[in-house]
């Protein structure tokens, strides 16, 4: 740990350490080098979130690199959460990117397996998976805390990165998910961002186990929220996104809102969720993934009562 008592000193780490309810957002880099487009998207999040996740070739679709987009965010004075998947890089490229990211002022990172390239726009590509997300977490921790590369050679200025990991409480085999979360925390995850949650009942049960096992004390768990734009989107996710649990009840509620009012109903549900998460034992914050809906984040944040964001020095 560094002199100031922080592992990385990132804003997200400070907010969590001070005991505030964290609120993070997400921004997918553009499908091109369009910096203006990227800025337009992330400007909506300025001052509304503690850190912004920058996705890494999300759903295996090629986009501007997450490291470059994160660095542009740093330049603009926003805090990125740099995502890295194991699909596209071997351990050399990963460690190089961790160092490069740190050198560019990036202080948070989310370690992911990554969607298989089959989902994306270059399904012909080779996948790497030299190491998996568990090993990536451990590798970044080793780089940070021991100041060593994976091969034990010393690092000249180790990267002080706040390490995040993902968790899907709804994927199968369901009974094992809590142990996989425990493994990620054992490997070194400081914070966890969950897959988007729609089934609150199941999530409550999951969190109860996380609390009982002491996991929520060892890492900050941020609950994932993605507002539904329509009943169609809800049905699509229920059917086509593996490991996603969208209860029939929610689909009915959206349909019941009627044409033109479903988006508002989706936002209402998201706000209710955030309010419940604020009270839920073990939940340290919310990760709002408003996909291609960045401009709605200020409104959602306002209505959910998470503004203004705390300033911690």
């Amino acid at each position: 740990m560094s002199e100031n008592g922080y592992k990385s000193g990132s804003n997200l780490e400070k907010v969590l350490k001070a005991g505030h309810f964290a609120f993070t957002g997400e921004c997918g880099p553009p499908k091109g080098a369009n910096v203006d487009h990227l800025k337009e998207k992330f400007e909506h999040l300025r001052g509304k979130v503690d850190a912004v996740n920058v996705t890494d070739n999300q759903t295996a679709v090629v986009r501007m690199s997450s490291k470059a987009a994160s660095a542009l965010m740093v330049q603009a004075g926003l805090e990125p959460n740099f995502q890295m998947v194991c699909r596209d890089r071997n351990r050399l490229a990963m460690m190089a990117d961790v160092l490069g990211a740190y050198a560019l002022g990036i202080r948070n990172m989310l370690c992911l397996s990554g969607d298989h390239q089959h989902f994306g726009n270059h399904p012909q590509s080779k996948n790497v998976y030299d190491i998996d997300s568990m090993q990536l977490i451990a590798m970044v921790k080793k780089m940070r805390d021991e100041g060593k590369f994976l091969n034990d050679e010393p690092i000249d200025v180790p990267p002080k990165i706040f390490i995040g990991a993902a968790c899907n409480p709804f994927a199968d085999p369901v009974d094992y998910r809590i142990y996989r979360l425990a493994n990620k925390i054992d490997a070194g995850a400081d914070f966890i961002q969950t897959q988007c949650i729609y089934n609150m009942k199941r999530f409550r049960q999951f969190m109860k186990r996380a609390v009982d096992m002491g996991l929520a004390e060892r890492a900050s768990i941020l609950a994932g929220v993605t507002p539904m734009k329509s009943a169609r989107m809800a049905k699509y996710m229920a059917k086509n996104v593996p490991g996603m649990d969208v209860p029939e009840e929610l689909i009915k509620r959206l349909e019941g809102a009627g044409k033109g009012k479903m988006a508002e109903e989706g936002i209402k549900f998201a706000i209710e969720q955030i309010q419940e998460f604020k009270e839920m034992e073990g939940v340290a914050g919310v990760h709002l993934m408003a996909i291609e809906w960045e401009h709605k984040v200020p409104e959602i944040a306002e209505r959910a009562g998470v503004l203004p964001r705390p300033q911690v020095d």
Binding site: Y129, Q135, D172, N183, D186, G243
Partner: protein
């Protein structure tokens, strides 16, 4: 064993387009067992090729032969007297076969008639599945005899990923999620602690990543 599929007929026809006389050579090894390059398949392909070319009015002479194993120089030698009597030789063995043949007979052309796919076995009559990716350092004892390197779409050593649903892999409902099976078995047998261990990053040098491999058994080398 090694599993292969026959190449599409058009591709094979294109390879031998300019030939008037070819040798079609099968193998009694793996490709016979997986019904792709044994005696029967050699006969079938030979007659299809003959008929197709006859229709075109440019008959193709196809001689048939099946070697004991094309991956063994001793049997490859059996073509010594005849190999140069053809415009080309079409091999129905796995990818090893045509390579051993061309090494033995550098002045002949050898074409592959099959696509070599994986190491595996038959799970039911007519269906074969991959089981091993030849990583060179077997670790399946950590996973109750199930190989995540060959059988998880992401070769995860700490699965299952968040895309596992109903025992199926996120890539396709035709692919079983091997991690689902590993986890269920460990949990059923009360050996969850096996999965609470962090495995070190794999040393891929023993796999293809270390370059083309060889195996030397000193006691056998003369």
């Amino acid at each position: 064993m090694i599993i292969a599929d026959r190449k599409p007929l058009e591709e094979i026809q294109e390879m031998v387009k300019s030939c008037g006389k070819i040798l079609l050579v099968g193998c009694k090894g793996c490709v016979t067992v997986c019904n792709v390059g044994g005696l029967k398949e050699v006969q079938v392909l030979a007659s299809i090729l003959r008929i197709a070319r006859k229709k075109e009015g440019r008959p193709l002479e196809v001689e048939e032969k099946v070697l004991e194993r094309q991956c063994d120089p001793e049997y490859v030698e059996q073509l010594r007297d005849t190999y140069d009597q053809y415009d080309a030789v079409l091999s129905m063995a796995c990818g090893v076969g045509p390579q051993f043949l061309s090494e033995a007979y550098p002045d002949q052309r050898f074409f592959p008639a099959v696509n070599t796919k994986f190491m595996g076995g038959a799970v039911q009559h007519g269906i074969w599945e991959e089981r091993c990716a030849g990583c060179g350092t077997c670790i399946i004892h950590f996973y109750d005899g199930m190989c995540p390197i060959a059988r998880c779409s992401k070769s995860l050593l700490h699965g299952p990923c968040g895309g596992s649903a109903d025992g199926k892999c996120e890539v396709s409902s035709d692919i079983e999620c091997i991690w689902d099976k590993i986890v269920r078995k460990k949990m059923e047998q009360d050996r969850l602690e096996d999965l609470r261990v962090l495995r070190a990053a794999k040393d891929w040098r023993t796999a293809r990543d270390g370059g083309p491999r060889r195996s030397i058994r000193e006691e056998l080398v003369k």
